[in-house]
Symmetry: C2
Subunit: 655 residues, 2 copies
């Protein structure tokens, strides 16, 4: 087949980043920029209809038709839609803030959860620069005057086009090279991965992990995972646009081997136990991947990377590393920083080239999930004295700011994720999440995730139900039901007294959905562990809860946590409500943002290194704080002034 | 079990390298130095009997008994045997040149071959610093105050003890870590490998590839291989002492798929062909490893590294990389620089942690074997205008010095390795290597490798026999026998006329061993290709053969090449004999030396990059030079004055 004569090259200078690229005359401005790694937001994918890719041509001129997205005034100033512009001569182009991809992502992130403003608790300042890149290169075919090796030819072109040297190549990718190069006339897309954080002594060294014929740059996806003890959550990310295109959640298949990390570790010590646990979580991951692919109609071969955050035990087991010493004093994990590993070698059904990066951990009970959450929330970037709590099975808390951080694990138990709760479930469709109660008839008003018939209760539902029952006087300070109330909803069941949230006919499961005294007991113990942890950790750094300038709540238990109700039951401290921010699944947030920015990969290392672990179990105060917290509300009225004031009012109204 | 209280630390400063180490009071000076990577020669392994580890204590004093190896006068000057000295206080120690390990190795290298002084053609100036290291570390066990991860603990101790940071860890090694650390009371030996050459932008980054319980530092071996088209040669190396402890050779199992690289590449294109060829050479390598282990009684698990040098095709096939385009114009290999690969993944039967490093190549027909040879011979280190020739199936030649190098492949064919020769064989026991002939009776005098009964003829034997027959007038300038001579040794056989070198009864094979006219024809073509290559390449850089200041001859065809006879048949140019140096298997030499020194790993990269490939096939002169060389001796008497003078004399004597 004939080759076109080489086109004329022109130079485009982008401001404010001061990046120069060489483009071909006639090339589309948006494509040229994207190919060269200069990111311009283009929500519609370059169709010309969204107007998000507007740029200012400061010097030179492009061939461009004005659409309705550019006003006459803007047009005269030199504003053009990058996707509608052809490059003719050398240019100086300014990319306004509104067209920068990073901004686009922040806006999306901030819009996601339930109305609470989250943008102020998300890491900022990072450039959109995923650790996984796709580079399209058209190589000059070899001649007898220029017959260097295929690899040298490829690296030379990458260097010329993208100014990248210091690249290494994965052996499996190398083996494909001669065939792939010749398949589409020496045009290939190279996938590179930066696997290690930049340190003072180590420069970033991209690794070529895949080579595909032709230009596959548009198919550029990755996965972010939160590997929880109870539930596993995954997102499929589009690395061109910086957005989530599908989400999935499933129970961690390890649940049948034990509810918490301690029993899992015990199981791992049986013959073949570690292998079984590993296979169980990998099978859960594969199930979620299948779901994400089905939702998005994306092809598995276009997934190029996985970033996973999980607690230390989950991370060890996923990678097949023996977690034995995590539960034996003095509680040492095998590794906090783990090199990336090929996902296929763990049994994850993705392309041979896909690496899995596991977030670094701090200690045996302060894992990659908390590092990921702190990172995603940007706690390490601000001077604000922040209290970060990840409300889940392990219950990890952090106090600190950009200068210092202390952290502790509270061992809350699985109640917040629906574990140890009769009708408990993870926060997925059908879970009762919101609850109200008629103060006279004691009839419930329930809301479920997805608005379907109820199936069970998720962690946030459990909090809201318990607080509602307490406020209505259905349960007392010890969590026991007032069995004298005139309602059929309170009755004696197989596990002691219970309250019927939904009658069998109203449910998906064909059985009454109830909350039992045992469920409430489990929640009391869980919230007591979190609050006692908070008291102990604040005291250890010489402050009190009221000194906290910001409280960031993360958790996988549902996205509708009610701050007021959480304070009522004594889970959160009674401080001004505007200091609370709920960010949802922090672990997944950090994993997602790191998939979008290599800067955060560097930060993850810094965050893990700057955290000081505080062992609550060796502090005498923790046990007494815990015991004192085993009531609803917390018995110390001085620490919970607004709760006592309100509950007093409620009692008065009732009388 | 109880642990000793920590000993007092003292500082030892070594000159002339200006290295400081921290040792424990009471520690053995030789061991402390070795553990810290300061190399002192100790031929007897520290038994005190060889006296090679003498050092000068310049400041401070050691506890040491004088043995007969240290004279009273030396003792008074402060000379001590490092192996007999205990460190008590801070020291300044001078390591004299005679005790430096590098010197010890050079002397060994120089001693090896057949009397010709080789030391002047071996790379110098490198420190003994193998890319594979074993580091013994005793870790402080974890406590509740210090419960960092096992990996962090290990890296911290390595940093303290060996001043090494910037270390990464292989995932398989990481998985073993918790078990191994606790097996011998937190004492472990870590094996590190430097896999990449240092460049301007890339620092060396050791990779932890293995962890063993206790101190296994004494068992520290690696393998060097020359992967030839015809034969494969391997050496087992002791990385503590820098010496060869066993050697093995075998035919490349690929021979049954074709005699030269072109037929091998053709075979690789059949379905399953590449896989079969790879398995064939791997099986040969495994066979040699078994032999080396049997010879040395070394355990396979103590082998930690493999360095292999081979031509471009052999390297591609060994690694399972498609060599297709090597034989199609414009002859591009897949890669010249190939990342190290785990040997087990290729099917080589060594430990899971062992990496194979393949020498970089220059072009499709200028491979890692020639780069290795140039490196081992130190051609790149000297200003001397050097001609390097690797006489083998491919016949590669290089002209250059420390400033520039040009190289070409002559495609000599397999005759130099016994291929295409009726009784040809590789240079192993039973091969006829040396030959003399009675000028009156025409009876032969033969010498075989190993002094056994003859089995066949190796490449150097073929040269010597042909030259001998020529000088005695048994064959003429066209390589045909003078059938009128009065001897039964010349007769007509199945392949035309032949000369009987040994009667059946005198051989190991129970058949007459003969040299045929076809054999001589093959040798003539092979030597013509080499010499024409030499003429063409010298001319291309504007010099003549007589300008060459040094001629280094490498080859796997046997270690007794006779320079005079090689000039007689027109293989080597007729220049002063003191310019010739024979270094044996240059490819294996470079692989071995690089196993001993990381400096040479860096140099290998430089050498491969500085070589300019010259395609003989596209130079019109080559074909005419080749055709003109197809006679014995070379027909141009002016180019071979001493040969014509001597042959003239011989003819005169006969008359």
């Amino acid at each position: 087949m004939g080759r076109k004569p080489p086109s004329k090259k022109v130079k485009v200078h982008f401001e404010p980043d001061n990046v120069d690229i060489i483009a071909e005359q006639g090339e589309n401005l948006l494509e040229a920029a994207t190919n060269a790694g200069v990111d311009i937001n283009a929500s519609c994918g370059g169709a010309g209809v969204c107007g998000t890719c507007k740029v200012l041509i400061k010097k030179g001129e492009v061939e461009s038709t004005r659409t309705e997205k550019v006003s006459q005034e803007e047009y005269e100033q030199g504003v053009r839609q990058a996707c509608q512009s052809r490059i003719i001569i050398d240019l100086v182009v300014d990319i306004p803030v509104a067209s920068r991809l990073e901004t686009a992502i922040l806006v999306q992130e901030a819009k996601m959860p339930s109305g609470i403003e989250r943008a102020e608790a998300i890491a900022t300042g990072w450039g959109f620069n995923p650790p996984l890149s796709k580079l399209f290169v058209a190589l000059p075919p070899p001649t007898s005057k220029d017959n260097v090796s295929d690899l040298t030819r490829l690296l030379r072109s990458i260097k010329q086009r993208y100014h990248l040297s210091n690249i290494s190549v994965d052996f499996d990718a190398l083996r494909k090279l001669p065939r792939v190069l010749r398949k589409k006339d020496w045009q290939v897309t190279v996938t590179t991965l930066v696997t290690a954080a930049k340190t003072k002594t180590v420069r970033r060294k991209p690794l070529i992990i895949n080579i595909e014929p032709g230009n596959t740059g548009k198919k550029h996806f990755s996965l972010a995972f939160d590997i929880g003890t109870t539930g596993v959550r995954g997102q499929l990310l589009d690395l061109n646009r910086g957005n989530v295109i599908a989400e999935g959640i499933a129970y961690n298949g390890q649940i049948s081997y034990g509810a918490d990390v301690i029993t899992r570790i015990a199981y791992s010590q049986k013959p073949g136990g570690l292998r079984k646990l590993q296979q169980a979580v990998v099978s859960t991951i594969n199930q979620i991947i299948d779901e994400l692919l089905a939702q998005s109609r994306c092809d598995v071969e276009h997934i190029g990377h996985i970033i996973a955050a999980g607690n230390t035990t989950m991370t060890h087991i996923l990678l097949g590393i023996d977690p034995k010493y995590i539960r034996l004093a003095p509680y040492t994990p095998t590794a906090s920083f783990i090199p990336p590993v090929k996902a296929r070698s763990l049994g994850i059904r993705v392309g041979k080239h896909v690496h899995l990066f596991a977030f670094p951990s701090v200690a045996s009970y302060v894992g990659g999930d908390i590092v990921s959450g702190i990172l995603g929330a940007g706690v390490h970037q601000r001077e604000t004295l922040t209290f970060y709590m990840d409300i889940g099975t392990n219950g990890e808390i952090v106090i600190g700011n950009s200068d210092w951080m202390v952290t502790a694990a509270c061992s809350a138990g699985p109640a917040f994720e629906g574990g140890g709760v009769k009708h408990g479930m993870i926060a997925t469709a059908g879970a009762i999440e919101d609850f109200g109660i008629n103060p006279s008839s004691f009839e419930p008003i329930i809301n479920t995730i997805g608005g379907t018939k109820p199936k069970g209760i998720c962690g946030s539902g459990l909090i809201n139900i318990t607080a509602g029952l307490l406020e209505a006087g259905v349960i007392g300070q010890n969590g026991r039901f007032d069995t004298h109330l005139p309602t059929k909803r309170i009755r004696e069941g197989g596990d002691g007294y219970e309250y019927v949230l939904a009658w069998a006919a109203e449910t998906q499961i064909g059985k009454d959905i109830v909350i039992t005294e045992i469920d409430i007991d489990n929640l009391i113990r869980a919230k007591a562990a979190m609050y006692a942890g908070c008291q102990t950790l604040t005291k250890s750094v010489g402050i009190t809860c009221s000194d906290l300038e910001q409280v960031i709540i993360a958790g996988a238990f549902g996205s509708h946590i009610d701050i007021e109700k959480s304070i009522t039951i004594g889970l959160l401290p009674d401080i001004p409500r505007d200091r609370f921010i709920f960010i949802g699944n922090g672990s997944l947030l950090g994993a997602r943002l790191t998939s979008f920015s290599i800067d955060l990969l560097d930060d993850a290392r810094k965050v893990a290194l700057m955290m000081t672990n505080f062992e609550l179990s060796v502090d005498g105060n923790f046990m007494s704080n815990y015991t004192a917290s085993l009531f609803l509300p917390h018995p110390n009225a001085e620490e919970f002034p607004t709760v006592y004031k309100r509950l007093g009012k409620l009692q008065k109204n009732k009388r």
